[in-house]
Amino acid sequence: MQLQYFLILAATLFCIGIYGLVTSRNAIRVLMSIELLLNSVNLNLMAFSNYLDPEQIRGQVFAVFVITIAAAEAAVGLAIVLSIYRNRDTVDMEQFNLLKW
């Protein structure tokens, strides 16, 4: 097994996540795309941890931190989506223009 396979897989997941983040209209799908991005970065960290630093596995420590932050981000993001839905009665990203000039 080679390091490059994992890195290319992570790059693919990252690009899919960015595509979903930019093009999706549903606010919850945007949150799911952010989870994809965070997971691809985690995969990078774990691959580096296994191949470049297998004794002091600092990459795994960072991955645990990223998982923690991702859980907090999902909770707060869904709370924001719920609050916007209650005020605007929609989850369409194109209609969230309260802060747009």
Binding site: I18, M32, S49, P54, L82
Partner: protein, 199 residues
Amino acid sequence: MNLAEGVQIVSFAILAAMTIAAALGVVLFNNIVYSAFLLGGVFIGISGLYVLLNAGFVAAAQVLIYVGAVNVLILFGIMLVNKRQSFAPIKNAWVSQVATALVCLGLFALLSTMILATPWVLSDAPIAGDNAVVVIGLHFFSDYLLPFEVASVLLLMALIGAIVLARREYLPEEALSQDQTPALTLPERPRELVASSKK
């Protein structure tokens, strides 16, 4: 990892195909419930890849936190905003989609050439393997102690912030004036909808 090289490559191929297919499904399906369940597939595939990378503890944490907590939270979110509406079509929506796809392909090409062109310095040190939990714990309580404590404070802030953001607004003076509120209903301020298509 005690598996043979061929077994590792085959399992990597299966897990990678499953992960990429599920990720494409998350992004491209129209029904958001299918997307949420496929997101669970992505998380499980990535945890399998972690097992291939000699990280059993983080794989277990990934399944616990992502599949068990985040995915269920997203499903609950979908349930709470379950409004079957078809979004109003925008003019020239395909232009932005094609442009985004081109940008993403360009980014992928850039990352791939960078990955393949970089001479990675692989380490020959012994792999931590099943000892990883001990090593991670030592890191947490020695050189990563400050981020560990800050993460706990941040989780508390996210907990309180999510509750404050998501709860309904509550007016205590109206609640006190109305004695006869029916059971099992919270007194709630009548909400006024901001006109969603106000220009």
